[in-house]
Symmetry: C2
Subunit: 198 residues, 2 copies
Amino acid sequence: MHPVITISREFGSGGHSISEKVAKKLGIPFYDGEIVTQVAAKSGYAKELIEEQGEYSSSANKWFDISAASAMYFQSPQDEIFIAQKKVILESAQKGPCVIVGRCADYILRKEGIPCLNVFIHSDMAHRKERVLERYGAIENVGIEKRLAKKDKQRKTYYKYYTDQQWGDYRNYDVSLDSGALGEDTCVDIICELYNRK
Amino acid sequence: MHPVITISREFGSGGHSISEKVAKKLGIPFYDGEIVTQVAAKSGYAKELIEEQGEYSSSANKWFDISAASAMYFQSPQDEIFIAQKKVILESAQKGPCVIVGRCADYILRKEGIPCLNVFIHSDMAHRKERVLERYGAIENVGIEKRLAKKDKQRKTYYKYYTDQQWGDYRNYDVSLDSGALGEDTCVDIICELYNRK
């Protein structure tokens, strides 16, 4: 049976768009927004909060401020969202081959022994800047490099917090691809080829 | 024009064998032992020393022991070998497309603006152990995991010393492949496909 494809990506690397194209080309489900909808239904939290807290640890640090004693009994909204999200990811993967973007899916599925093709997409700053400006436009008074570095840091912290591993570490992925150097379409083709061979 | 392929690899990942097969399949030169021969001719050092010092920093630390003052005037054999090796790598790359294994070739060629396809090959401990035992056999009283960890550390230290960058960091490679999960032949095919598209 074909594996589940998990795709982790640097912000602005085109990883989301690559994931969508891979799913379309292979004719398998693509889970991204769908996960948010299902987590909202399961957890009762608003979609906007899930989008923010389900991959980014922008607010994670504030949970470290609580005392060790209360931490034992206290489950933060971020933790509740992580648990609901983990359930949705496992349920989705159990239905059969699909593409899941971000959200520690590689770690969650590996722990359960579900066969995966784990992919990491990255790109250099020049390509990412260009892509982000094209897609989201400029935000006044906020340097684009600062925005990118912040997003990476948030994903890295989130991944580290829930998996105790380094986000982007080659050991966690079957393949890491530089979408800036190779181009989006080549990345799509390589991932599809690896999927078909596995 | 096609790029030069540089292949960095974890010890025991099959990266050397993959590199050889890639060169054969593409019909381009493969530089590994050839570099050692040329460096020996250029530097006057013995091939055995070049093999040991040209990629591994097993003895690198001892050069740190010399005082700061003498370090300004003193060039270690390792440094001399690095300089000769750098020249040989540049000359080889300038002749046209080829495959170069290890030796900071990715960094050396990037600094000179030579178009490259930079590849990193890794594998999990189980696959590497199996491969090393098959190829080199067991060494009494030396744990295989310890041997692998030591080799990785030596390559990492060497790379860091001469490039000031992290060996294995995804930012330095167009593609990183897990040869244990994907298989050697798949790695060969993917690298050849990326070469032909670049």
